[in-house]
């Protein structure tokens, strides 16, 4: 027994981590099979709250992937070449985030094996149609943007030299991909907010602000996750090398984005207090003093935006790596809390349609254990993919000379790409 334990202790930390994630994934896979087999009846979703934990994870994954389009735009469209290695990490994080979102949706829709209907049956009037098209297209863009990263890995080049040559050639189109990515992301990051914002029957949602708040909060939280993941990786494994001055400057910008977000958020909430609008004021009350109040004040506002804004804007705090990491983690948590609250508040407050009284009614929602299991599995998949990326694809590597990355010397074996 003790011999076993010692053997376990001698296992590298990385494999222990992968093993732990594997356990979560195995449980989630079993839970997922149960959901597909028995149907959504095993969840705590119902006709009053049809969108729950999985939609919150889906929205959060998309928001936290926003670093990819922002940093690629900064590098390839604004010409801030120094940040290229960070954009590389962000692209990979984005690819993981969007695949997590699609996994969530696959589990969440009632007819998962009809997911392809979204591609061939079009209602161009629907916001969700636009979101679906953008997400599919942007995922394709991310796949192309990730190709040079995979092609750059030594083991890949050795095994498939011709394919690697072709794939690394894709980087010539990086500016175009960044432009397309910027367009697609600007569209769907905000129209995910509009998905809620166009619903007249739900007064707390029904306003144009939601699209602005969604893209602003994503602009803060997406890069925050990329910087946080890079810093964490650099501290946990020698495979990851970071240039801290780059990350510090991005963290500084995130601080200002948070200020902008808080400004809009303040007016969004404050303007709702002026006149009574059935359903809207009850929703605001639920956020500020009801069942979502702790999430709202502590998760979203205090810890999710105010505290990290201060930590990231005061140079003395920002320069302390651990404090910066805490701040970035808080930003990530803040956007998750925001998506959770927004998704729920419009569903937990119901308006009656009786002619004598248009009044608010309330319901509750707590995710079922099986929803947590599947959700945890989707997050574990994301962590696993990132960990493997750090180890085998050098996705956190600020040590490479930037120019060499942009113009790889064509090796003889890579001749197909050389003519490009």
């Amino acid at each position: 027994m003790t011999a076993r334990l010692q053997q376990l202790r001698r296992l590298p930390r990385f494999w222990l981590w992968v093993g732990a994630l594997g356990v979560v994934l195995a449980v989630a896979a079993a839970a997922g099979v149960i959901v597909l087999w028995k149907g959504l009846v095993v969840t705590n979703l119902n006709d009053l709250v049809p969108w729950g934990l999985w939609i919150a994870i889906d929205l959060s994954s998309i928001a936290l992937s926003a670093g990819a389009f922002l940093l690629c735009a900064a590098v390839y469209l604004l010409g801030l070449k120094r940040y290229q290695p960070v954009a590389r990490t962000a692209t990979f994080v984005g690819l993981i985030g969007y695949s997590m979102a699609m996994l969530c949706l696959f589990m969440d829709i009632g007819q998962p094996f009809r997911f392809w209907h979204a591609l061939i049956y079009w209602n161009t009037h629907s916001v969700l149609w636009e979101v679906t098209m953008c997400i599919m297209s942007y995922f394709t863009v991310l796949v192309f943007e990730t190709m040079p990263i995979v092609a750059g890995a030594g083991w890949f080049k050795r095994r498939w030299p011709r394919l690697a040559g072709w794939m690394s050639g894709v980087h010539h189109y990086a500016p175009f991909l960044a432009l397309i990515g910027l367009g697609l992301s600007s569209l769907h990051q905000s129209s995910l907010g509009a998905t809620y914002g166009v619903l007249k029957a739900r007064p707390i949602w029904y306003k144009p602000d939601l699209s602005v708040l969604f893209i602003l909060s994503a602009a803060a939280a997406g890069p925050a996750l990329t910087v946080l993941a890079s810093m964490l990786a650099a501290r946990l494994t020698p495979k990851a090398r970071v240039d801290d001055s780059l990350l510090e400057r991005i963290a500084h910008v995130i601080g200002w984005v948070l200020v902008g977000y808080l400004y809009f958020r303040f007016w969004d909430a404050f303007s709702m207090t002026y006149t009574y609008w059935p359903g809207r004021n009850e929703g605001l009350d639920m956020l500020t003093g009801g069942q979502l109040a702790f999430n709202f004040w502590v998760g979203e506002i205090l810890l999710g935006a105010l505290v990290p804004a201060v930590l990231l804007l005061v140079p003395r705090f920002r320069r302390l790596p651990w404090l910066r990491m805490v701040a970035l983690a808080l930003v990530v948590g803040g956007v998750v809390a925001y998506r959770w609250d927004i998704n729920l508040v419009g569903q937990l407050v119901l308006l009656t349609y009786l002619p004598t009284e248009i009044a608010a009614r309330y319901t509750t929602y707590t995710p079922a254990l099986i929803e947590w299991a599947v959700g945890a599995g989707i997050v574990a998949y994301g962590l696993l993919a990132f960990s493997l990326g750090v180890r085998y694809l050098n996705i956190v590597d600020h040590g490479q000379p930037v120019e060499a990355e942009a113009h790889p010397a064509p090796a003889p074996a890579l001749s197909p790409a050389a003519g490009d």
């Binding site: 959504l40 829709i109 009632g110």
Partner: protein, 258 residues
């Protein structure tokens, strides 16, 4: 970053032409893929009038609907809701699908599984639906119910309340009242008039013992629904939302005859 080659005029024109062609094809496809035909192309415009002064809240409509549309006991397409008192007597609000002229569910459905028929009925294509439930979130009337589990076994409303006329919906799609399109369409094919001939009229209207429900064609000025709406004060649910429902209510009033 430095580009190897500047974009040549030919390459630019090629790209522009390809993008243009893709846009045109996309627009054509979007038009072709649209689920809803032109509303109003039919010569009928179906509507339902529900007289609250007659409704006793017996719930026969709910049960008849369950039988004829093979709806599971956990779901009601037609709910009857207690709606307070008028002159000391309880009143009720039977609530089918409103078949809105501007239906939020149709507008938000990403695959076009919710659509308008030419006669204005809001329909569900259960084979197209992917089960995202956006329509359920968008509907102001709670008229949609999701199939959280497969409906198996016998329907307790059958045969007492009637025989199923439509196939059961699969698990994982929302379902709702269709104004009994199967009865309307089959009736018209046999030369019957919906709203007049019971075989062509929605099951809930036929089953109502108080005759509180009336169905008919608003395009026909002599139909019962047109006549009632011309001679009685009426209202529709949540008119402030601009959905323009096709279900009209005659309110219970103090002077209502007993």
């Amino acid at each position: 970053m430095k580009r190897n080659k500047p974009l040549s005029r030919r390459a630019f024109l090629k790209t522009a032409a390809a993008a243009g062609a893709a846009t045109v094809l996309g627009l054509q496809y979007a038009r072709w893929a649209r689920a809803s035909g032109p509303v109003g192309a039919s010569k009928h415009r179906w509507a339902m009038v529900i007289d609250q002064s007659k409704c006793t809240g017996c719930g026969y409509c709910t049960e008849a609907c369950r039988a004829h549309n093979d709806v599971p006991p956990t779901i009601a397409w037609n709910r009857v809701i207690a709606s307070g008192e008028v002159a000391g007597r309880p009143t009720f609000l039977p609530r089918p699908c409103m078949h809105c002229e501007h239906a939020p569910c149709v507008e938000v459905c990403m695959v076009g599984a919710s659509y308008y028929r030419a006669d204005g009925i809001v329909m569900m294509d259960y084979d197209k639906c992917i089960g995202c439930r956006y329509c359920e979130v968008a509907c102001p009337y709670g008229a949609r119910a999701f199939n959280w589990e497969t409906f198996t076994g016998p329907n307790p409303a059958v045969p007492e309340w009637g025989q199923p006329e439509v196939p059961r919906r699969p698990r994982g799609v929302p379902e709702k009242c269709s104004f009994c399109v199967q009865r309307i369409d089959r009736g018209l094919a046999h030369g019957l008039m919906p709203g007049v001939d019971p075989q062509a009229t929605p099951a809930c209207v036929v089953a109502c013992p108080a005759k509180a429900r009336v169905f008919g064609d608003l395009n026909n000025p002599d139909s019962e629904v047109s006549r009632l709406l011309a001679t009685h004060p009426y209202y529709r649910l949540r008119e402030d939302l601009g959905t323009a429902p096709r279900v009209y209510y005659l309110p219970a009033r103090q002077e209502a005859e007993s």
